[in-house]
């Protein structure tokens, strides 16, 4: 099985600090990979490099065997969905227009869009009656479901999620985690999920990638991380999070 996304020696530095040191990573089709680590560890940077909101200083990123460059990314973005905290909805557009924005932009037929929209409402358990509401009229969880529909509209091969559930209260969060996991399974979706919450990482991740200080510290299952830590930091990170859960 060949990797859908492949990073080779990718690095990025900002004016004042190194964000990502030369990093290699493969994301296999149909899996959910979770990037976890303390804030500033480079996990969001890695995601933003793949969708090319920022350009790497060195190294190469391949999508389905094709290099992601300034020239190719325009088309490739249609094959990658991107979900952020709060959903990133445009406040001046209704939920429906937000979801259909890109499909309209590339000239999909009205029938095709409507049937896809109905499927997505079903999939994300979002009420059709709420589609004509503006983001400010929706709850945080509803906004996140709309954000997810928008990302899935064009049936992307890869879904990138940058702490998508970070701003939600625990009950809504738990419900969405469950739905999201179901959706990934149903769609056999390749997903790259960024979180700083170990419990969430364990819940979602087929593969967990622990990052610290701009580099990948260890990649593997939660068992690997717990029982065969590659570095004292791995144990430290896992124990710290477990500590919070226990108290």
């Amino acid at each position: 099985m060949s990797a859908l996304v492949k990073l080779v020696d990718v690095s990025k530095r900002y004016a004042d600090a190194i964000a990502l040191r030369a990093t290699n990573l493969s994301i296999e089709r149909g899996t959910t990979t979770v990037l976890i680590g303390p804030s500033g560890c480079g996990k969001s940077t890695l995601l933003r490099l793949i969708i090319r909101l920022i350009a790497p200083d060195s190294g190469s990123i391949e999508f389905n065997g094709e290099p992601i460059t300034a020239d190719t990314i325009g088309i490739l973005r249609r094959r990658i969905g991107y979900v952020i905290q709060e959903g990133g909805l445009f406040p001046h557009l209704t939920a429906r227009v937000n979801v259909l924005l890109m499909a309209r932009h590339i000239g999909k037929s009205e029938d095709e869009m409507q049937s896809r929209l109905a499927d997505l409402c079903d999939l994300t358990r979002f009420s059709v009656n709420l589609l004509s509401r503006y983001p400010v009229e929706l709850s945080g969880g509803q906004r996140q479901r709309v954000g997810l529909m928008r990302a899935l509209m064009l049936s992307p091969e890869l879904l990138l999620l940058d702490e998508p559930l970070g701003a939600l209260d625990p009950l809504v969060r738990a419900a969405l985690q469950k739905d999201l996991k179901g959706i990934f399974a149903q769609l056999k979706q390749t997903a790259l999920f960024v979180t700083h919450d170990l419990a969430e990482a364990i819940y979602f991740g087929d593969e967990i990638v622990l990052m610290n200080d701009g580099r990948i510290v260890q990649k593997g299952s939660v068992t690997d991380l717990r029982e065969r830590p590659a570095d004292p930091f791995v144990s430290e990170f896992i124990n710290a999070q477990r500590g919070i859960v226990l108290t």
Binding site: R48, I51, L53, G74, I75, R77, R78, I80, Y82, I84, Q85, E86, G88, L89, F90, P91, H92, L93, T94, R96, V97, L101, M102, H105, E110, Q114, L117, A118, C121, D122, V128, N129, L131, S132, Y134, P135, V136, E137, R150
Partner: protein
């Protein structure tokens, strides 16, 4: 699972279409308001004081009586502005004084003969009539009671009273034959010298805020306010014979009509006409007295007030509307560029800010001598456009910069093209800020457009200017009140427009 109702999709699109038509409609209204008026064949200019207004009206009537279409642009400013307008062809003729021509236009230190002046003007393509018959020289005037108490009879006598306060017109302060050489020649010691408008100066003299001011020897106010003219004992002031200057290219019958005015106005008659003009607040009426030999009739009072008000208001809207349209068309793209920051962005904001700090009057004065501009509606619109730029540029830039980074990135990550991102996402999100910038601009423009009258561009500033000139508050209010109401109306219209142009999702 419900299927999506097609009506709901239609509603989103209809709302968008309604918004675009509202935008288009407001655009069309601004354009319709802005179509400039067509010029008349002969244009007479006049300076900003009563006698010049009256002479301008006399010339217009003389031309009309000969069957030549003519319009009078009243009170366009001082000598240099009128001279530039004449040379630039924005006006065809205006009343002037021989002393002023020698000193200010030809910049000659000594007294020139009539023929010398005529030859010199000929090189500019400008002709001059023979004197109209009166000499309106500069003079210094004081309250009669004060002059008698201090024993001041001549300008030389002022040397003994350094405590006297002088209020002089700005033109007199700067002229070659004005205050500076005068006080050197006479050795005048006064320290308190302020610049003040001619008509306001008479009021200041009457209420004792100043003691001495410059005047024209035919000013009606000299008799009216019981003032004395100080004798020019050193013969400093040159002769100021009244004449008309005209473009030599003007049609011969028009020149003939002006020349028939030569030698027909003596000093006594001119003072009378000036007094009548100030008494009735009506220059046309005073000018008609010249033709009617002193008689008056009710129908010679000229344009009715509602008609004048409509004309001023329409012109005012034309000035403010067209300049606002330009500010929007140029300002929003500049604001978009400025929102990206960098040297260019900083440069644009810096430029717009600097323009804003130039006083409106100075901006007009700076534009008038430039080739394309001169004394014209064009100049007024350009100045107002530059003035209206900053609020729009700044609000567009800040509105765009205030869009959260996460939303900008969402738009990019979706794969929308740069144009679609700007047009469908960023600009609508910044619309509230942009519209409030346009509203600020519109209100500023309505206010500032009153200054356009200074360069003969008309509008509600016209009665304000005449009122200032006549020191008549009622006339000032004829312009000031409608201008204020107009500003309120515009503010209110924009508040309504907000409801159509700001997307619903941002108003909830």
């Amino acid at each position: 699972m419900n299927s999506v109702h097609p009506m709901m999709v239609g509603r989103d699109r209809r709302a968008r279409r309604a918004r675009s038509s509202a935008l288009l409609l407001s655009f069309l209204i601004s354009v319709a308001v802005a179509i400039p008026a067509i010029a008349n064949p002969i244009t007479i200019g006049s300076k900003k004081f009563t006698e010049s207004y009256v002479l301008g009206e006399i010339a217009r009537r003389a031309l009309n009586d000969t069957g030549i279409g003519a319009e009078h642009r009243q009170g366009m400013g001082g000598t240099i502005i009128l001279w530039q307008a004449l040379r630039g062809g924005q006006i065809d003729a205006y009343p002037e004084y021989t002393g002023t021509i020698g000193q200010e236009i030809l910049k000659n230190g000594r007294q020139l003969s009539f023929q010398e002046i005529r030859d010199a003007l000929g090189k500019f393509g400008v002709g001059m009539t023979e004197p109209l018959g009166f000499n309106n020289t500069y003079a210094l005037v004081m309250r009669r009671s004060e002059a008698q108490r201090l024993g001041v009879r001549t300008i030389s006598d002022l040397r003994k009273h350094p405590e006297l306060r002088l209020g002089l017109t700005h033109e007199f302060l700067d002229r070659q034959d004005g205050w500076r050489p005068l006080h050197e020649r006479y050795g005048l010691p006064q320290q308190s010298v302020v610049g003040i408008d001619h008509a306001l100066g008479y009021a200041a003299l009457a209420n004792g805020s100043i003691d001495v001011k410059d005047a024209y020897s035919t000013d009606a106010k000299i008799e009216e306010n019981d003032l004395v003219v100080l004798e020019d004992d050193l013969r400093f002031f040159p002769k100021y014979d009244s004449v008309f200057l005209f473009r030599s290219s003007m049609p011969p019958n028009a020149i003939g009509a002006l020349r028939r005015l030569e030698g027909t106005l003596d000093e006594k008659r001119m003072i009378h006409l000036n007094m009548e003009a100030e008494r009735t607040k009506n220059y046309t009426f005073a000018a008609n007295l010249y033709f009617e030999g002193g008689g008056s009739s009710a129908n010679s009072l000229g344009e009715s007030f509602p008609h004048k008000l409509a004309r001023w208001t329409l012109r005012h809207l034309e000035l403010a509307g067209f300049s606002l349209l330009l500010s929007v068309i140029i300002g929003i793209p500049l604001g978009i560029v400025a929102s990206r920051g960098g040297v260019i962005g900083q440069g644009i904001l810096g430029f717009a800010s600097i323009v804003q700090t130039i006083p409106a009057l100075a901006l007009l004065a700076l534009l008038v001598p430039l080739p394309f501009f001169g004394i014209s509606v064009r100049t007024a619109i350009t100045a107002l456009f530059l003035y209206g730029l900053l609020p729009i540029v700044r609000n567009t830039a800040s509105g765009l910069q205030d869009i959260p980074r996460s939303l900008r990135e969402s738009a990019i990550a979706l794969g929308l093209s740069p144009f679609t991102r700007l047009w469908e996402i960023y600009l609508p999100m910044a619309s509230r800020s942009i519209l409030s910038g346009i509203k600020t601009s519109a209100v500023i423009n309505i206010g500032t457009a009153t200054l356009a009258a200074l360069i003969g561009a008309g509008g509600l500033g016209e009665p304000i200017l005449s009122g200032l000139n006549l020191n008549d508050h009622a006339t000032i209010l004829q312009g000031a009140i409608p201008a204020a109401l107009l500003a309120l109306l515009v503010q209110w219209l924009f508040d309504i427009l907000d409801r159509f142009l700001i997307p619903k999702g941002l108003r909830l």
